[in-house]
């Protein structure tokens, strides 16, 4: 239904190289990663639980957040037009980008224009932590144009210095501990004190000294946005460190790249989201820095402001009735922190800048599941197609989501889309398709089911001492670490017939 709508640009930021189960196996074998992630997610889970529990109206806030986002999506074209008018009326400029390539081109051209105007090319820009610019791989596009992008969020800086990839929406370096961070700083941070310790304060001070030089000299800053208020054209960024505030206030030119779903109709709506977001993300009652700006204020802050509105697959997501509420997401990452899968495998296994439960939904929605294969060119090998299956459907994500995205139901919806796509594509059914069709055929009839049940008794032949320890593929995936009990000598319905009589229970 949504095939005619543009998907995200084909970049490496949403589509990994390996199917999830393969990438997960590698991650699960990394003991240091397991320890780092287990510690970090447990800490943040406890903090979130405590600050959520102290609000008596938390559930009402979630309802309000969800309702406001549903309203935004229902009126998106109108609200986007309003936002553009208000931003322009207050001295800003608005650009529309269909996909990542277009957004990157717009930003690169804007940065180059600043260099041309000043007569001195811009060699470095400072960046506020932003998922949208990660999604479009803006840093790579800037680098190709000879412009270095300096990440100023501490965790993002750690990832950038070590030439790594982010593994969490909020804490991109969550897979690292402080001892590893110290090593990264010593190896990659120019003029760092060689006596650096791994105390958090010492590490933060080192980053501060390194970044401050750039804040003072940067001519262009690039940010994302947590919220945009259509009513006034105001943009908002919430953060913990204050480095974002430096970027948003010191340079002469500010370029903001924002997904089109980040809108809120009015100022009043911020009241809801400024309670939901910090409690859900960092587990704080209020984040330390909330920066808001409206167009350009003469003599104060950036004198040139550009807003780049990014689609990159969002309209296609909006067109999918069962999947559109994924656009409610405010990138808090609460679902990552409570997810038993994410906690064990970490973010890199998802192969997308959006990992975890919401990533397993958003990534297929934005990028599609029938794209580049894992080196074979087969749509069936598209790693994105494995993401909706990377969940035990335990439901912890839905409970934690501040805007009530029913992630488990959407995962099942995407699984159905994937299976339907495969069914249409293959001429000869896969082993799984054949098995599913056969079991459904058996189970749709009482007679066939009863006969099949009786046949499971052959399982007793491969059991020893009432236990099956080994089975052929695909069930070997079960018996690799788990026994199975031998089938019983008598099924329940046989017991019922024997003890209660046939006629009694049959309607």
């Amino acid at each position: 239904m949504t095939d005619h709508l543009p998907r995200a640009s084909e970049l490496g930021t949403l589509r990994g190289d390996l199917p999830f189960p393969v990438a997960a196996r590698k991650a699960l074998g990394d003991a240091q990663l397991r320890r780092n992630l287990g510690h970090a997610t447990a800490t943040i889970r406890a903090k979130r639980a405590a600050v959520v529990a102290e609000l008596p109206d938390w559930e009402a806030l979630r309802d309000a957040g969800s309702a406001i986002k549903a309203d935004v999506l229902a009126r998106l074209p109108e609200l986007l037009d309003q936002l553009e008018r208000e931003v322009v009326a207050r001295g800003g400029l608005v650009h529309w980008a269909r996909d990542a390539d277009e957004a990157n081109r717009i930003v690169v051209d804007l940065v180059r224009a600043v260099g041309a105007r000043d007569g001195v090319p811009v060699e470095q820009v400072v960046k506020v932590k932003s998922m949208a610019t990660q999604e479009i791989e803006l840093n790579g596009a800037l680098a190709d144009a000879g412009i270095a992008a300096l990440e100023t969020d501490l965790a993002e800086l750690i990832v950038q210095l070590s030439n790594d990839k982010p593994s969490h929406i909020l804490v991109p370096a969550i897979h690292r501990n402080r001892s590893e961070i110290r090593e990264i700083f010593l190896e990659h941070m120019p003029s760092v004190d060689p006596e650096l310790t791994d105390e958090p304060r010492v590490l933060a001070m080192a980053a501060r000294a390194y970044l401050r030089r750039s804040f003072l000299s940067a001519r262009v800053a690039i940010s994302g946005a947590n919220f945009a208020i259509a009513e006034t054209g105001t943009l908002a960024v919430v953060e913990s460190e204050g480095n974002g505030r430096m970027c948003l206030t010191l340079p002469q030119t500010l370029i903001t790249v924002m997904g089109i779903e980040k809108l809120l109709p009015s100022w009043q709506d911020l009241e809801v989201f400024l309670q939901l977001l910090p409690r859900s993300s960092t587990g704080e009652r209020m984040n330390p820095y909330t920066s808001m700006w409206t167009g350009v204020t003469p003599g104060d802050g950036p004198q040139e402001f550009h807003l780049v509105l990014l689609d990159n697959g969002r309209t296609a997501t909006l067109a999918d009735e069962a999947g559109r509420s994924a656009l409610h997401c405010i990138r808090c990452s609460a679902c990552l922190n409570v997810c038993p899968v994410y906690e064990r495998v970490g973010g890199h296994a998802y192969g997308s800048v959006y990992p975890g439960p919401i990533g397993a939904v958003l990534t297929p929605q934005l990028a599609g599941m029938q794209g580049r294969g894992a080196g074979h060119g087969h749509a069936a090998d598209d790693p994105v197609g494995t993401l909706p299956f990377a969940s035990s459907l335990c439901g912890a994500c839905f409970d934690a989501c501040p805007v009530k995205i029913d992630i488990p139901t959407m995962l099942v919806h995407l699984r159905t889309q994937h299976v339907d796509g495969e069914r249409a594509r293959r001429r000869v059914p896969s082993a799984e398709q054949a098995t599913m069709a056969a079991t459904a055929w058996v189970m749709a009839s009482t007679k066939r089911f009863t006969a099949a049940e009786a046949a499971t008794k052959v399982g007793r032949l491969v059991s020893r001492g009432g236990t099956i320890r080994s089975l052929p593929p695909p069930l070997s995936a079960w018996t690799s670490a788990r026994d199975l009990p031998a089938p019983p000598t008598e099924t329940f319905r046989q017991w019922w017939a024997r003890t209660r009589g046939d006629g009694r229970g049959t309607p």
Partner: protein, 252 residues
Amino acid sequence: MRIALFATCLADALFPRAAQATVVLLERLGHEVVFPSGQTCCGQMHINTGYQREALPLVRHHVDVFEAALRSGADAIVAPSGSCVGSVRHQHADVARQQGDDRLAGRAEEVSQRTYELSELLVDVLGVTDVGARYPHRVTYHPTCHSLRILRVQDKPLQLLRAVAGIDLIELPEADSCCGFGGTFALKNADTSIAMLADKLQHVAQTGAEVLTAGDSSCLMHLGGGLSRLRAGTRTVHLAEILAGVGWEKAR
């Protein structure tokens, strides 16, 4: 009350004790249990693996069988499983609708409104927490994800367990984290599933319990499969068997 048993395909074929104990327990409480023998499977595995089209005939079959049971006088339907009841309640009508059968969706909704997980039936419908059982063992309880977060049974199973005479009920650390079963997830993502299981079993070991109980045979199959492989010295017993009490087999 006349109660129709939805045994679930897994209990019927592989774990009949869970369904038998449900019958014995309800009969002891003075209720009439009927077993609509046409029943097969609710289709949850197919639905959750993405095979909605294949699941549709299963949904239709389930609705046919239990609609007939209600028509012929059953007051309620009970299953010894949180996830199968979860599928009936939260997926059946939706599957029918997605596959373009609105009439089936309406019928599925009527069946689902009368379908209860065992602890829901006992506490909410029958209004009983002390079922008169004795079970002199150290037990720990794992709340399965679908009973907890889809059905919201809350602490009903624990209310029932606390009232069992002689039981030494020990709280399971990090009880509400998933055991890693997840249906075909346990096969498709076996490594991650096993990692989740390993952590769960570590918490079980901390309790020193000889019996691990839950309201779902599927999760117990996973947990029990791990405990058996490790020769851990803890066995799995379905909640219904504990509530039926020691020696329930004799009442069969």
